[in-house]
Structure formats: structure tokens, C-alpha cells
């Protein structure tokens, strides 16, 4: 009878909904996107092709600071909802595996390394699309990225990835509250001048976090040791697609114009201090 069919469908839907809610309450899968960057304090010399920073062995590499906050936020969510599983994903050459390992040391349960044949600049659209391929069928309820990378400063990978995955997003998040029962997240986004906007997003969703959302911890020795035994899932990125992405995004690197610089003070520190005091007098600020 049509009536009972409707009733059956309704009860099946009810059970499905209930299962989904229970599922949300049991486990929550979070993906954190992390990037390896050259330390901004390193001496940066543009390479011969004006394509990237020359690696003369003197540059130091580390995790993008914004991403450290992203990972810490995921770890805090897991402390509140212990059944949470955290994956980190990074993209870059062989050496970028160090950041995937760092992700495990800092508390991720699993790490994915999208390995490229060589290092250097990658357009944000390419990074996002490669990550979307992996994230697409892994059912993450929440994706967290840093607001931007310290090297390229595009602030694009997060929103692009959200758009590619077809999920809601919020950027420059400085506070978040996950309601896994209700399948939503409430965030405060930082606007210019320090005002904050409160926004609700249904899960699955992506947020990019601003620095200062938390204080990233140093990993515990036990976590560092545990991480050494964990396997990193390495997936090779096709060289041809890297080449195509780079050809589609021509650019060159430059140094900032020298002419803009002011007077560089010479001499010993004492001489500089004395000269500065004279200058401040000349400008009547002292």
C-alpha cells in the first residue's frame, strides 16, 4: 500500500538520520593541510631562473606557522571529542616529508605526503586540486588550514579546496566551537581592525585559522618517538601535471626596489646609538 511505503521510507530516513548523528558523535575525521616553508629569517637569494629561492644548503625549512595553529586546533578538538581522527596532508618534494613527520609528532594520527619530483613554487590552484583529489573520497567532517603560507602569502589554498570539495568555508578564524551532535561548527572570523564576525557552518566544512587562535604546544617526547614508527602515506604527484600547472602560471621573482630604502647607519652600535639620538633631536622628537 502506498501509505505504508511512505511510512517505511520515513522510518528508514529517521534511522539513517539517527545513524548519521551517532556517527558524528562517535568519530570525527579532521584533515589538516600543512606546508613546508623556508624560514623567513633565512637569507633569500633568487635562483637563476627567477623561479624560486636558491637552495645553497644554508636555508632552514620548517612548518608554516599558520599551519601549526591549524594542527593545534585539531588536537584540541580531539581532546574534547576523543574519537576524533586527525590526518595531515602536505605537498612538496622528498624533503617535505619532514613536515608530514612533524605533523605526526605534533599529534596527527596519520600523514599523507603528496610527493613532487622537485622543489620550488607551486600555484595554489594546483596544490588545492591535488589535495581535493585525496580528500574527496575520505569523508572528512572538518578541514583546517592556516590562513596563508608564510612564503607565498596567497591565502588561497583553503577557500579553493573548500570550493573544489563543495563544502562551506570560513577564513581568518580566531575561535571555534564544534557541535558534532548537531553536525555544525560555530566560528569567529577576524575582520579588519580587530572586529569579529560570528558564523555558523554546517559540517562538513573547511576553516582557515589565524595565528593567535591558540598557543601551539611543543610535541611531547613520547609523541616524537611514536611518530618515528608511524608510516607516512606517500603518493607521487605526476611530473607532467606539475609542469602543466607551472606553464599555466608564468611569473618571475624580484627583489624589492632598493631605492625605497632609507639611510643605513654605519659604525659600531655605540656610534649608531649616538647618531640616532642626534637625528631624533634634529626631528624634534626628543
Amino acid at each position: 500500500m502506498p501509505g505504508s511505503q511512505v511510512k517505511n521510507i520515513t522510518s528508514v530516513r529517521f534511522i539513517l538520520d539517527l545513524l548519521m548523528v551517532l556517527c558524528y558523535m562517535c568519530t570525527m575525521k579532521i584533515l589538516v593541510c600543512v606546508k613546508q616553508v623556508i624560514d623567513t629569517e633565512s637569507p633569500l637569494v633568487v635562483d637563476q631562473d627567477a623561479a624560486w629561492v636558491r637552495d645553497d644548503g644554508k636555508v632552514a625549512r620548517r612548518m608554516n606557522r599558520y599551519d601549526e595553529y591549524a594542527l593545534e586546533e585539531a588536537v584540541r578538538i580531539r581532546e574534547e571529542f576523543p574519537d576524533t581522527v586527525i590526518d595531515v596532508i602536505t605537498m612538496g618534494p622528498e624533503g617535505a616529508g619532514a613536515v608530514a613527520l612533524k605533523g605526526l609528532e605534533k599529534g596527527a594520527d596519520h600523514a599523507v605526503h603528496l610527493r613532487t619530483g622537485s622543489g620550488g613554487y607551486l600555484p595554489p590552484g594546483f596544490i588545492a586540486s591535488e589535495m581535493a583529489k585525496v580528500a574527496g573520497d575520505r569523508d572528512y567532517q572538518l578541514v583546517i588550514t592556516g590562513f596563508m603560507s608564510e612564503d607565498c602569502m596567497h591565502a588561497q589554498v583553503g577557500p579553493l579546496l573548500a570550493s573544489m570539495l563543495g563544502i562551506p568555508s570560513a577564513v581568518a578564524v580566531v575561535q571555534q566551537t564544534v557541535d558534532t551532535g548537531g553536525g555544525s561548527i560555530e566560528v569567529a572570523c577576524e575582520l579588519e581592525g580587530g572586529a569579529r564576525e560570528l558564523v555558523g557552518l554546517e559540517l562538513p566544512a573547511l576553516v582557515t585559522v589565524q595565528t593567535g587562535i591558540n598557543t601551539p604546544r611543543y610535541p611531547k617526547l613520547s609523541d616524537v618517538l611514536r611518530a618515528q614508527d608511524q608510516e607516512i602515506e606517500v603518493m607521487d604527484v605526476d611530473d607532467g601535471s606539475v609542469k602543466a600547472a607551472m606553464e599555466g602560471c608564468p611569473y618571475r621573482l624580484l627583489y624589492p626596489p632598493e631605492g625605497a630604502r632609507g639611510v643605513v647607519m654605519e659604525g659600531t652600535a655605540e656610534e649608531k646609538a649616538d647618531r640616532l639620538i642626534e637625528i631624533l633631536h634634529e626631528h624634534s622628537v626628543l
Partner: protein, 330 residues
């Protein structure tokens, strides 16, 4: 390209108030026009900003679209993407420009993906050579620059606030006209705005009122060293200690002391930057200062490009020395 470069300038409205910085997009258009003919359409989102849309259409004399619809009094990204898809298919702009604010940095990539277009973020300068247009932006906190040719259209540009301010827009001046009103309907809404938390009021000397600002950055190393900056500040009348983002993120000073895009904009008589690298977000907040002195161990720090006097020294050691010398003189 032989034809006119069609620009779609996308303003932003927060809580019903049009963000006047959006008018800097006109300065960008003026910079482009110096090398290439342009055709401008300016989008003003939100019913509450309709009055402002009418004024811009009348006084600047350009085509203005007053965009109405759900969420647009707050330039909600979900509704805006929908609107950009509709307007772009109709107007076929070459370049879609917005500010690189929190809103713009979110909207740019969403529109880029929806249109299958590239996006270039936080653009600081544009060049036109012949009929080739390129955009310049910062990498590594401004220590390096990236120049990208804009030759695949459409392209989305988000513009660093303040970067184009001051460029004369007189040449763009057209005849007064009426804005076109446009409704955006049926968008997939996913950005559920629940409220706004205003900036916290602060105690003590406000940094924006100070005549001398001693500002500290990551180079301070530890919180205790802030005391040195306080001590130096006391040598000057009407002075205050301020900071760059990493210092307030570490909780060493309240957010009300932060100079930069997400903090305060200051223009004191003296701005002394101690251990601040000079990210463009920070520079935006202090480049109007009359005299800038920067102290940093890194001779290539971007802060030196906006400093009148550059001192390559460790800021903690140098500030201690400076205080000692000042005390000896008094």
C-alpha cells in the same frame, strides 16, 4: 590586447556600511588606465549601501551596480559568488578586483574556482608595458616580490588595502549617472552569520593618539624584553608601546596594541620598529608615520624598505644601549 580592459570592481559592505577603502579599487583602475584604456563597473553590495552606490555613480560618473539580496549587507561570500557568476557571464569582465581584506581573501578564490579563472592575491603594484599588464605582490613578508603577467582572462585580483591609495583618479571621471539595481536570488546559502563582536575598548594611552611609538616584534625574543621598550618609551612625551602580530599572538600585549591590517593604523611623529620583519600587513598600519627608525638583525628585512633610518643590530642589545646613552646625556 587592443580593446578596452574591462574591470569589474567589487566593493564590500560590512553590517550595512560600505567599506570606503573599496574606493581604492578606483585608484588601481587609474593606475591601469595610465597604460591601457579601461572600462569600469563598480559593484556596491547590500540594500543598506544603495545610497552610497547612487553617490558613487553620480559623483565619479562610472557604471555602478547596486547589488541586493540575502546576506549582501555583509558581503556574504555565498551570495557574492552567485552574484559574480551572474554578472560575469553578462559583462564578460577581463579583471575582477576586490580588496585583499578578510572578505576579499575569501571571496577571490571562491569566484576564481567558480569561473575557472586564476586568482592573484594581495596585489601591491601593476605595470603596463605596451599592451601587457602585470601585477606585483609580496612573498616572504616582502623580502621578495613576485611579478605575474595578466594575460589569461578573466583573472581575479585581490588588492592589498592601502597599496594604491593616493593615485589620482581624476582621469576616470565620467558623467554623473544612475546606478543599476540588481537582485541576487536563489543562491545556495551556507554562510550563516550570527552576529558581530565589536573591537574591545582599551585602557591607558591609545596607540593611535601617541606621538612616539616604540613597537616590538618577534625579534624581541621574550616577553621580559618588552620592559626595555617601555623604558625607552618613557624617554619621550606622549609615547606608547605597540607591537606586531606575533607579539600579541603570544599574549605579551593585548590586541589593542597591535599595529597593522588586523590591528590599528597609526601615524605618529616617530615610529621605532624593534625586531619587526615588516610584513605588508604590518607596514599598512604604520607607513603614514613621519619618521621611521627600524632595528633588525636581518639586513634584508622588509621593514628597512619603509624606514628612514636602518639599524642592523639586535634590537634588545641596541635598545638597552640607546637607553643607557640617553640617560648619560640627561
Amino acid at each position: 590586447m587592443k580593446e578596452k580592459l574591462k574591470l569589474l570592481l567589487v566593493g564590500e559592505t560590512i553590517q550595512g556600511t560600505f567599506n570606503e577603502s573599496s574606493l581604492e579599487l578606483l585608484n588601481l583602475a587609474a593606475a591601469l588606465r595610465e597604460g591601457i584604456p579601461v572600462e569600469i563597473t563598480f559593484v556596491v553590495p547590500g540594500l543598506d549601501a544603495a545610497q552610497r552606490a547612487a553617490e558613487i555613480a553620480k559623483t565619479v560618473g562610472i557604471n555602478v551596480i547596486s547589488l541586493h539580496g540575502e546576506g549582501l549587507n555583509n558581503t556574504s561570500p555565498d551570495s557574492m559568488v552567485q552574484a559574480m557568476i551572474e554578472i560575469s557571464s553578462e559583462l564578460q569582465p577581463h579583471v575582477i578586483c576586490m580588496l585583499h581584506t578578510t572578505r576579499g581573501s575569501h571571496l577571490g578564490p571562491l569566484v576564481a574556482h567558480a569561473l575557472g579563472a586564476p586568482a592573484v592575491s594581495s596585489v601591491e603594484r601593476v605595470h603596463v608595458t605596451g599592451d601587457r599588464v602585470s601585477a606585483v605582490r609580496s612573498l616572504y613578508n616582502g623580502k621578495l616580490k613576485q611579478e605575474l603577467p595578466l594575460d589569461a582572462f578573466p583573472v581575479i585580483l585581490s588588492v592589498q588595502p592601502g597599496a594604491f591609495a593616493g593615485i589620482d583618479t581624476q582621469a576616470l571621471q565620467g558623467d554623473g549617472r544612475e546606478p543599476v539595481t540588481r537582485e541576487v536570488t536563489g543562491s545556495d546559502t551556507w554562510y550563516h552569520l550570527q552576529g558581530m563582536v565589536p573591537v574591545e575598548p582599551e585602557a591607558g594611552q591609545k596607540i593611535e593618539d601617541a606621538e612616539v611609538i616604540i613597537a616590538g616584534g618577534r625579534g624581541l625574543g621574550k616577553q621580559d624584553n618588552l620592559e626595555l621598550l617601555e623604558e625607552l618609551a618613557r624617554c619621550f612625551p606622549r609615547s606608547a608601546v605597540a607591537a606586531s602580530r606575533p607579539v600579541v599572538d603570544s599574549g605579551w600585549l593585548p590586541y589593542s596594541r597591535q599595529v597593522g591590517a588586523t590591528g590599528k593604523t597609526v601615524s605618529p611623529g616617530l615610529y621605532m620598529a624593534c625586531g619587526i620583519s615588516g610584513a605588508s600587513q604590518h607596514v599598512m598600519g604604520m607607513k603614514g608615520s613621519r619618521l621611521v627608525v627600524a632595528v633588525n638583525t636581518d639586513p634584508n628585512a622588509a621593514i628597512f624598505s619603509v624606514a628612514d633610518y636602518c639599524i642592523v643590530e639586535d634590537c634588545v642589545t641596541f635598545v638597552s644601549l640607546l637607553i643607557k646613552r640617553l640617560c648619560e646625556r640627561n
